[in-house]
Every structure is written in structure tokens, then in C-alpha cells.
Amino acid sequence: MKPDPRAYHRNWLNSHLLLWIGLLGLSGLLLSITSLRAQSPKQTLALPAPLSALELQGQSRIDLGQMLFFDRRLSGDGTMSCAVCHIPDQAFADGGELSLAYPTNKHWRNTPSLLNTAYLERFFWDGRAASLTVQAAGPLESPVEMNSKLPYLAAKLAETPEYQEAFQRAYAAEVNPELILAALAAFEQTLSVTDSPFERFLTGEEQALSAPARRGLELFFGARGGCSQCHSGPLLTDQKFYNLRVAETPTLQQDPQRRATRRYMLERQGLPMLPRDPGRYLVSKQLAEMGAFRTPPLHQIAQTGPYMHNGSLKTLAEVVAFFSRGGGDDAQRSTLLKVRNFTPVEQADLVTFLESLSGTVPEVHRPHLPGD
């Protein structure tokens, strides 16, 4: 799905004319765009379609979801809300290597951002949920996250008059577990970012990307970079599972509490304890998927570090360097990984391109909550 080349040409002509008429002083800008274009015919790259607009639920459902999102009643001991790990000011991720956990417990994976997740079909690093509502139930009931029980939570909210009213307003129904999850999903659907320079570029705004970002884009979608073998489609993910052999960190291998979390997650699936995070194997029990994780979507990626399922890569530069060397050191890693030996300029260009995937994060505040 490429933008119409004629539209592209028209846009280019328009900006050309405008610039000459209105901004004679900036002729250098025009020159640089022209020369860029000459070097890099966009037509040869298989670029994704821009993100389409999502159909949102009614405002009363979104508002209810937002209340639930920020309400610490949702955790077993009343200390955690969804917002603790999906922090609005941090692109709805949490800036930590590994997620915050229920008090005294420890988590085993990195918090994914919620931005643009409403477009996804597979959730969690191992893709074990197939919808936003199923996903939302995960942290609510996980002993290392919010450690609550949905039926009990529903009972608690049903005894809170303001929630009773809010559920009536939104769904004309009593509080129940399914509606709690549905409301959270309705709120999460509003967390989209569609105005990044890259998105604007895809809709025909050629100047939205800087020269380095353009070069990075060509690497990313070209055979040299190879990134779009997996990071394809509007979300820049194929939502499939690959083993990059990201090294396991000492804390995950040694910390008894983090090991306990891994042991628990495995046991729940009827599997024995394993020396490292099994990734997709946890769900599929296919040995071929041992250590494979879902290709993450890349929108807003510059604000959601550290990276990888265990947060072991701190910066985008480290991530690019990781792929440049062909991924982790293991024979079982995905055959799509190749030693690419990107030059320092290529690595910097790729980082600049990845930074161009960031747009305006919706501003969300803690709403008034019952009892405030």
C-alpha cells in the first residue's frame, strides 16, 4: 500500500511552488529535499499504509474505563492501579527494565506501552491474549501484578455507589467482571498516536522526515537493514514470534523472587521450571518457539525504553547495535537475523528513523474517583 505517486507528485509540486512564492529565503530547504528525492526513490520501498482511525466507544464507557485505570481499588491490597506501570507521562510504559510488581513480589518482564495497542491482535510478550479485554484481566489477577480477583472486584465496585451509577450510565447494567474489562478496553482504545513524522510522511507529507530519518527509513524497509521482515504493516509488527536470543540478565537468573515468578508462570501451564524465559513456548509448547517473543510494535518506541522482553537493552542505539551484530549469541536464533555490520552513520540513521515514530501522546489525567 503505497501512497498514490501522483498525489505525492502533486504535494511535492505544491510545496515547491509555495516555497518559492512565500519563502524565497529558505531555498536551501527546497534544494535539500530535491536532492534527497533524487537519491532515494520511495517507490522501490514497500511502505506500510498509515494507521487508520479507530472507532471509539461512547464517552461514558471511556470515562468509566479511565476511572478504573487510575483506581487503586483494583489491586488486591489497594496500592496499585494500571497507571503505576502504564504511566501516562512515560508513553504509558514505566521506564523500568522490569515491571513494577505487587508489593514484596517481583516481575519477570518489561512493561509494554499501551499506545496504539488497540490495533493489535496479540498481547503480552508471548502473545497469550487475543484481545484488549483478555489482556486487561491478566495484570488484574496476576499474583505478581495487581493480585485481585475479578468477581471480588466486581462486588467491591457494586458496593460503591459512584461506580454503580457509572456502570449504569455506560452499559445500563450492574457491575460485572466482563464490563470492568470492557470499560478498560474502551479507555485504552483512546490511547492512539497517529501524528508522528513517519505517519505524516506516509500520508504524503514528504518534509515530515529529516534527511537522516529518510536514510534510516530506507535501511529499515530495504534489504540492507532487513528490519521490515518482521516489523511490517501499519503497526510495524507482524505480530509473530521470533527468537532473537536476547541475553538473560543476572537478576532474572539469580533473584529467587524473579525465578519464583518464572516457575509460577510455567507451572500454571503444566510446564517444569526452565533456566530462562520460555517466551512463546509458554503458550504454544512448541520447542521451535522456545525463547521466541512477539515482534513489538514500534510506534513511540523512543519513549518506551528500556527494550526487549527483559529490558536488557537501555537505548535505541543499543538495540540497533544488537541487530547490527545479528542478534544474540545462540545457534537457535531466528534465521532472519544476519550480521549486518551497519556503519556508525547507518546506526545513527536507524535511530533517527525510530525516533520519527513518536507523535503526540494523548494527555490523560487522573479523574475524580469515588471517595475523593
Partner: protein, 50 residues
């Protein structure tokens, strides 16, 4: 040359996210403090003892 450098800068600044929020300012009032008064770093903790 200068002009094209300027252009590059312009393009770069357009492509960078306008995300970084300003620093959070907290009026200290006469809140309890521990550590050197003239310390270069102030860490304010919003605490719940329970």
C-alpha cells in the same frame, strides 16, 4: 552552506517528538527535610505510611 545546515537543523527539530514535559515544581513550604539544606539535589517523597 550555512543555510543548508540551518535547514538540516529545522528538519531535525521537526522530526523530534514534542514529548518532554517541563520539570515538576513542588512548593516545599515547611515540609520536614533530611540532609544538607544546600544540597544540589532535592528529592521530594509523597509518602503514605500505611
Amino acid at each position: 552552506m550555512l543555510k543548508s545546515l540551518g535547514c538540516l537543523f529545522l528538519l531535525l527539530s521537526i522530526s523530534l517528538p514534542a514529548l518532554a514535559k517541563g520539570p515538576v515544581e513542588v512548593p516545599l513550604g515547611d515540609a520536614p527535610t533530611r540532609g544538607a539544606d544546600d544540597a544540589p539535589v532535592t528529592m521530594i517523597e509523597f509518602i503514605d505510611f500505611q
